[in-house]
Symmetry: none
Subunit: 215 residues, 4 copies
Amino acid sequence: MSSRRTKTPENKPRQARAQATIDAILEATIRILERESLDLATTTRIAEIAGVSVGTLYHHFEDRDAIVNALQEREFTRALAMMQDVLSQENLGTAPREMVERVVRGLAKLYETSPALHRVLAIEGLRVANAERVHAFDLRVIDVVRGFLLQSREHLRSDDVEAAAFVAYQSVRATMLASLLERPPGLDLEALVKQLVDLVVRYLIRDDAATQPKS
Amino acid sequence: MSSRRTKTPENKPRQARAQATIDAILEATIRILERESLDLATTTRIAEIAGVSVGTLYHHFEDRDAIVNALQEREFTRALAMMQDVLSQENLGTAPREMVERVVRGLAKLYETSPALHRVLAIEGLRVANAERVHAFDLRVIDVVRGFLLQSREHLRSDDVEAAAFVAYQSVRATMLASLLERPPGLDLEALVKQLVDLVVRYLIRDDAATQPKS
Amino acid sequence: MSSRRTKTPENKPRQARAQATIDAILEATIRILERESLDLATTTRIAEIAGVSVGTLYHHFEDRDAIVNALQEREFTRALAMMQDVLSQENLGTAPREMVERVVRGLAKLYETSPALHRVLAIEGLRVANAERVHAFDLRVIDVVRGFLLQSREHLRSDDVEAAAFVAYQSVRATMLASLLERPPGLDLEALVKQLVDLVVRYLIRDDAATQPKS
Amino acid sequence: MSSRRTKTPENKPRQARAQATIDAILEATIRILERESLDLATTTRIAEIAGVSVGTLYHHFEDRDAIVNALQEREFTRALAMMQDVLSQENLGTAPREMVERVVRGLAKLYETSPALHRVLAIEGLRVANAERVHAFDLRVIDVVRGFLLQSREHLRSDDVEAAAFVAYQSVRATMLASLLERPPGLDLEALVKQLVDLVVRYLIRDDAATQPKS
DNA sequence: TATGAATGAGGATTCATTCAT
DNA sequence: TATGAATGAATCCTCATTCAT
């Protein structure tokens, strides 16, 4: 996103310091989100907690939104990487149910690390202003999921791979967040994962094929 | 403390006027949400569009949030009423799949009326400040769904009725909203309803029972 | 102050009802002052506690200030009446110190009934807008005190009766209020009265004359 | 939490600028009080006259009240400093009456500089919200006065040093303010000082001792 | 007379952002 | 580059007062 290119020899340590500052700012923001709310994450407050001045904050981020966007992008990247990793070619032999479980569990891990952050990212993701970025991310996710589904085409219930990917992804994402935020009794993380895996597998995959390794 | 003395006969026309004002304010708010965003729904702006003064607005609503809360409450009530209606006793004979479809379709209708409103309500529902109200609503929904599921207990895949109700409701709600906001190609309303019904029925109900009327 | 004169036969019961309303409003105001503060004594709030509508309140008082003014006037009247009573001709024979003590004690009684009210009246009395009314009251008080002093001219230390009356009155008034508001340890009401009597007597009256009945 | 890193050398000119701004705001406030009233000393107006923006005002003062509090504190400090100065050890040899006169005159000087300011401070001092601060100041004054009285214990009429200090201070303070605000005829500043010195000396000190230097 | 919904000017406060040092 | 004082548009909200019913 922020690509500066000054071809001086000090480039590296300088870049390293810049990255440290950026990270401090992002972490400070998350800290505020966790303890309080997005409303209290003012630029002044973020800078204060990050241990820098507002001026410095604005050296590294175009404006306040850019900070939240950076967080969003970072989580997007992490989520996608995880999914690509699990659904990659080399896992071709694994049974569909196992694959789904790995993805759901991976997602749960990401969300669990900072539910407050994901609460805010969900809110931001719903903002009209962010529609495009979020949509783009969704497309990338759908793409990965679709890739996986196409590999297992023979076991799918439905032909509409695109729609199925969309529905499955949204269901998992939203239910997981709601569960982490509301913590409904009797639905601990393990039970949640089981339910979501059931949901997805039954929705997507023919009964007999779920637990069979793909041929 | 506040001793109202005479419930005068003029009370009714006065109340009617008050209700009309309240409605005007709510509708004005929705109108702004639809055309623009929650950020632009300032108290001044709402009052202006509603054709009243800010003072009047504050005469009827504690503060700005109270307006959005009122909208939320109104939608909560509508959604619950619809569900209770569909899942009521007198529909006992209907096949489960049919029942699910009616609920999903009913929900879709509500959402379709004003996706922008539901976008905002979803955002508001994620705010920490509203956690309690939203949670309370979720519990009421879960309750209705659970009631339905218990009636059909024999056809259920799982015993964990509570968890199943939660997962099913969150999945439908979130996917429907995402779909209305992103309008993914190839997923028109009809297709969406079909996918969601498939999702829920396969998740909840034993294969053979879905299309049979309950005995 | 508010002199209405409608020469109808229903005049009396009507006036009685009006006076009851006025009293209810004044008492409601005092109640708010006592429990909270002048800031919270809004017209709406006063009306509510008085058990009438704002409209009714405005039927009886020109504007909000008129309410506080009425309270001020009422206390002015009470204080003056008390002083005139004590310092009246028929007490001519009493020793000066005794007279002073009666006045101080009378004042203390008034203040003690509602320190919060007198706190507010003191504040209002300092407002530029009220300068004239307060000044007029002070003149009336000074007048009464001066009358007393002139009677006892022979025992006075100073010839500047006017100045002495002013200083004595302000000292007693302010110290009494401060004492009631701050309640300094070791200065209960009885001690306060003694100190103030000492203060005034020593200030005004020749040593040998204080405890002698006037000849 | 707030980790200030480098107390850079530019800190001083920056601090000087900040102090200048604060002073400008305080002086602007006084100017409004003098010409008009506290009600007209709105934050916008103060900022305007101080030649800064509202934002800057809020950069230096928590809220509107903080400005008046700062003025109060400043006057408190000045008054205390003056009293401590006059009543300090090195003036031990001075006659009591002379000491009292110096204090009264010093106070008169402070009040005369800006009666309007002291009118407002008196009002603010009566506010419930400020009770604690005012009380604390009173205690400090009482303390200084008591220190003085204890030095002259042999000449005092009363043993209740605490009560005497309280009564004397409140009397002087209030009478002086009332006199400056009402300007009663025949009581110019010189006459006022004389009356107050008489009041205090006769109240506190044994007749024969007032004009003798302390042994 | 009583009622209370409606008014709207006006005030306090916030906070993203800039820029001189 | 870093700093943090300064900016000021924008927002929420209050409350004395009016007036149609």
